[in-house]
């Protein structure tokens, strides 16, 4: 049943409150670009703009060494490699970046009604994934348009994305809880996310990092996810399943820990908010 040690706890919670979850999820999607004149156009405009800027800065001005590209010249495929990393990073930074204030921004759900607060981070991350997947779609479109082949392995995209989902939800659970007790959490998180953008292989490949320092990136879960996405979309080959297994297991543990942490700490929220 609903014991804290049940590995399917997350699924049980989602199922028990499926109606409520559907409600807040729908609202969350609807209010995203509500009131903005361009509205949903921003979901496409924003990533394209970001991509252009980064391509120019890192592809033209900085000119990193990309070495082994399987097809085409550096100029054409660099933006796509960048995009793969940026897409994953975007989902990560958006989900995690605004997590600390998730529960703080809804005091009435803490004090006025009996509300399953776990739904807030779940809904938030799911929303981010929805909008973030547009980036991935754009990337695939870009590959097709620029003459590259979309290999069959692209169908395995849900796998690394699932790992990302577990990871970001776990982080969101913990950060949303911490954010209630310590307002500083928000500032810390902003800095840490910035750091992550540099210690993830977004602007440079893992191979270009000197051996001695590679451990920094290898300790970063995003590294694996980004590399896996690149393998199947751009290099047209399968990623290493053993590596995938371990990273996903770690993400699952993280998810479970985060969920249990939130459930235990939420009893004290009403006293603090």
């Amino acid at each position: 049943m609903k014991s804290l040690y049940n590995p399917a706890l997350g699924i049980i919670i989602c199922w028990t409150h499926r109606n409520l979850l559907a409600q807040i999820f729908r609202r969350s999607l609807a209010t995203r670009y509500k009131g903005a004149t361009l509205g949903l156009v921003w979901t496409i405009a924003y990533p394209l703009m970001m991509l252009s800027v980064y391509t120019f800065v890192f592809g033209v001005i900085f000119k990193p060494q990309w070495g082994n590209m399987t097809s085409g010249s550096e100029q054409i495929f660099f933006p796509l490699f960048l995009f793969a990393g940026l897409s994953v990073y975007n989902i990560f930074s958006e989900s995690v970046g605004s997590s600390p204030s998730l529960i703080l921004n809804n005091p009435s759900y803490v004090k006025k009604v009996v509300f399953p607060l776990e739904l807030l981070p779940i809904c938030h991350v799911l929303t981010t994934f929805c909008f973030g997947s547009v980036w991935i779609a754009l990337m695939l479109l870009g590959i097709a348009w620029l003459g590259g082949t979309i290999s069959i392995y692209v169908l395995f995209l849900p796998f690394p994305l699932f790992t990302l989902l577990l990871l970001t939800m776990g982080l969101s659970f913990i950060l949303s809880s911490l954010g209630v007790y310590l307002r500083d959490t928000q500032y810390l998180v902003t800095i840490v996310i910035q750091i992550f953008s540099f210690i993830s292989p977004i602007f440079y490949p893992l191979s270009s990092v000197p051996e001695k320092l590679r451990w920094i990136l290898l300790g970063n879960p995003l590294t694996y996810i980004i590399e896996q996405v690149r393998e199947i979309c751009l290099y047209g080959r399968m990623f290493d399943w053993i590596v995938y297994f371990y990273t996903t297991l770690a993400a699952l543990l993280f998810f479970q820990l985060g969920l249990v942490w939130l459930i235990k700490t939420k009893k004290g929220f009403a006293d603090v908010i």
Binding site: R27, S108, V110, K111, K112, V113, V114, K267, D271
Partner: protein, 455 residues
């Protein structure tokens, strides 16, 4: 066989940690239990009570007594420091104006959201949506964002949702004060129906509402239960508490008068039976029995002037022990002053069994221009002449009080909750709480409106 109470509150205690600086809060987390960086504020101290199914319990108390905290703990949004609460059935709570409403969303969205939070499935919400909108009666605003609503509209919508979620326990915290009279009536009607089978727990400052709706009342003071019991009893004590907080502790307390100078009136007063004037025992006559004035009944006050005797008399000033509804009577109050009173006021309330005030009056306006100055040792007699209304069968009481000052600012010297007790014993023609005897009833045919009206 032990029937489980709907709400079982067991030894609930709650304290809040008051930190002088936010950094202390962090230090407390690190030094768990070893050091104490906060001042505890005890909001609730060892509260226990039970509410059975079908009961309506009203919680009254001053602001800051702990009522909202208690309700939040019972609802489950706040954790107690110790003790536990057991609820049976679905709990729906209206804890504050627009609790659970998101101001950015429309009323429609909020109905779906709130109903989902309270546990309804999507299908159930869709089915009751029209009914909810109708009950709320906010017209086209249902499709406008809630932030544009007036507070009255918010409470109408919130209550409407609560009314439709098929709850077993309803918890309401002062949120109904905001609605207009029409809406309040609607709520009361709904609550009365709801209470036939389900449980209600509510906080109110409206004594009349508590008296008329609740089967039990709890008076909370400074975090503990001061009094619990019949609503009338509890609200009487609440009233006494209020006056004492304004004018200081009563010299008169409880039933016994503890003053040194006691004056006792001769008890050999002859009582007349008004019914004797009516030889035939008419079935439609309203006979009301009066029980003698008893000084030892519940009262409070400063004690500067004491009520010594209260009679209901006929037109010839004969004290009565039976009166007939519809006849002229005079309520006569005798008071003895032990202090100087600059402008005494004598007043009375006619109340029903539940403590609801049916009618009453006082001497303030009549003597506004020329206050009656009383020296210590003098007597006052106040007389109110009126036609006794027809009373529905049941028990009634007359509360009498003598005060000094103006109607808005005065010191209560002696407030007797139930100076006289009455029982109406005949099946009468009374409709409503009291019956006003009709001076004349006529019905006739007329040709048309114009010719009759111009006469």
């Amino acid at each position: 066989m032990h029937i489980e109470p709907a709400i079982d509150v067991q030894n609930i205690t709650k304290y809040f940690e008051i930190y002088s600086k936010p950094s202390h809060r962090l230090l407390q987390m690190l030094f768990r239990g070893k050091k104490q960086f906060f001042q505890p504020y005890w909001a609730l101290k060892d509260i226990s009570f039970q509410v059975g199914k079908g009961e309506c319990v009203g919680i009254i108390g001053r602001n800051g007594a702990g009522k909202s905290t208690l309700l939040q703990i019972i609802t489950g949004t706040l954790s107690p420091s110790s003790g536990k609460v057991k609820n049976i059935g679905r709990v729906a709570a209206l804890l504050e104006l627009g609790s659970g409403f998101n101001p950015e969303f429309t009323g429609r969205d909020n109905v779906f959201l709130n109903a989902a939070i309270l546990g309804l499935s999507h299908k159930e919400i869709v089915d009751s949506y029209d009914s909810i909108v109708e009950f709320a009666d906010i017209g086209k605003f249902i499709d406008q964002p809630v932030k544009s609503y007036s507070s009255g509209m918010v409470v109408r919508l919130a209550f409407s949702v609560i009314a439709h979620v098929k709850a077993d326990i309803l918890i309401i915290d002062e949120a109904l004060a905001v609605g207009d009279a029409y809406f309040t009536q609607k709520c009361m009607r709904f609550l009365r129906k709801f209470m036939e089978t389900k449980t209600v727990l509510f906080v109110s400052h409206d004594i009349a509402a508590v008296n008329s709706l609740c089967s039990r009342a709890i008076f909370l003071e400074d975090g503990y239960v001061k009094v619990s019991g019949e609503p009338k009893e509890v609200t009487d004590i609440y009233l006494q508490d209020f006056y004492e907080s304004v004018q200081g502790k009563s010299e008169i307390s409880g039933g016994a008068s503890s003053l040194k100078k006691e004056i006792v009136l001769p008890v050999d007063v002859e009582f007349k039976d008004m019914r004797a004037e009516y030889f035939l025992r008419e079935p439609l006559r309203n006979d009301i029995r009066i029980f003698q004035f008893d000084e030892s009944r519940a009262s409070f006050g400063k004690g500067g002037c004491l009520i010594k005797q209260v009679f209901l008399t006929d037109e010839n000033e004969n004290p009565l022990n039976w009166i007939v509804g519809g006849e002229m009577v005079a309520l006569t109050v005798y008071c003895h002053a032990t202090e100087e009173l600059l402008s005494p006021i004598v007043g009375f309330h006619f109340k029903d069994r539940l403590g609801q005030i049916l009618f009453g009056d006082n001497t303030f306006l009549s003597y506004l221009e020329q206050p009656l100055h009383i020296s210590s040792g003098e007597w006052i007699v106040a007389k109110f002449s009126f036609r006794m209304p027809i009373l529905a069968p049941g028990d009634y009481s007359v509360g009498v009080a003598v005060a000094d000052g103006t109607q808005h600012e005065h010191v209560q010297h002696h407030w007797l909750h139930d100076a006289l007790l009455l029982t109406s014993v005949t099946e009468s023609i009374c409709t409503g709480i009291i019956g006003i005897p009709m001076k004349k009833i006529s019905m006739s045919k007329i040709a048309d409106f114009e010719s009759f009206h111009k006469k």
